[in-house]
Symmetry: C2
Subunit: 200 residues, 2 copies
């Protein structure tokens, strides 16, 4: 458990990430990671108590690498509510494919592992914050659709942007990323923005 920064620790994380990307997030074993990192399987346990802890650390590592946090937060800079909604969707939609492999592994673990579950749930709660902020900006501008409460719009947007929905459309249905983004943008506009003429 060498605290935070260590040669091997990051080697392990990089190995885990590259394997997850290669295998689309499934069936990556501790032994595989160790082999790629060039150390013994047991040595991995010197840095991470459990597989779940490793995966959680891997997501953090990835976030740090890609500066995801920043991009998400940046979407708050937009002035008008509508712009903000669109910026947030764009930022999140760009984020998903980056974390998808590791997200998938985490999601698979979620059922059985307490730590994985709460790590993922925290992440989703953060994301919901972003949704709530966008919806609130919309409401502040008086642009929130009249049949939506802020809470409901937030939940709905949160659901709409879920990783599993991205998975369904892009992976299962083969939508290109650009189409996914565009479609979600218009969908969100139709559902949440007041007085939008369709197709505008």
């Amino acid at each position: 458990m060498s605290s935070e920064t260590s040669e091997t620790r990051t080697k392990i994380l990089e190995a885990a990430l590259s394997l997850l990307e290669a295998h689309r997030g499934v069936a990556v074993r501790m032994g595989d990671i160790a082999k790629v990192a060039g150390i013994s399987r047991q040595a991995v346990y010197l840095h991470f108590k459990t597989r779940a802890a490793l995966l959680v650390a891997a997501t953090h590592h990835l976030d740090a690498l890609k500066g995801s946090e920043e991009r998400l937060v940046a979407s708050r800079a937009a002035t008008s509510g509508v712009e903000r909604l669109e910026a947030f969707i764009a930022a999140w939609a760009g984020y998903i494919p980056e974390i998808y492999p590791v997200a998938r592994a985490l999601l698979a673990l979620r059922d059985t592992d307490e730590a994985a579950a709460s790590a993922w749930d925290r992440r989703m709660a953060d994301m919901r914050e972003g949704c709530a902020a966008a919806v609130q900006a919309l409401a502040r501008d008086g642009q929130l659709a009249p049949d939506q409460t802020q809470d409901q719009a937030t939940d709905l947007l949160w659901m709409l942007l879920s990783v599993r929905n991205w998975e369904l459309l892009t992976i299962a249905r083969g939508w290109p990323q650009a189409r996914y983004l565009a479609c979600l943008q218009t969908t969100a506009r139709q559902l949440f923005v007041a007085s939008v003429t369709r197709g505008s």
Copy 2:
């Protein structure tokens, strides 16, 4: 593998279903099922080659019990496209909570087990058929929103109605079933039905 109908076979399936319901679909082991069914663990393997096969059979058994198929198909009876869309959503929304426990177990297995994956995917393909039919009925009536192609509307409706979305709203966010249903109905209307004034 006593073909289809057998005293113990159904006992096993009932045991599996009751356990899955009790545990919300996770961590139900072959041994647990055997115990509840009142037979030895090995005897289960006399009826089902693998855990995945058992779970798949359990979903079929459940469908037969609840007559889910019929209800889904019945939604096709509605005459107008809009009615049909609403009927389909209602039927499916009612179906989800019934199969959720076993669906969850199947979904968990999906990553690692080929058979579970294809069983689930077939199910989802069937469901997409229903979506496609509803969308087509809408288009036939000239009621499909002009900014939607039939394919896109089908994919989107299919995504909207996914079990994971139901899980997100009702379980994670605590929505009552009735609210889930009502909200999805209006959402679908707004997205897919032409010239709907909001809130109508």
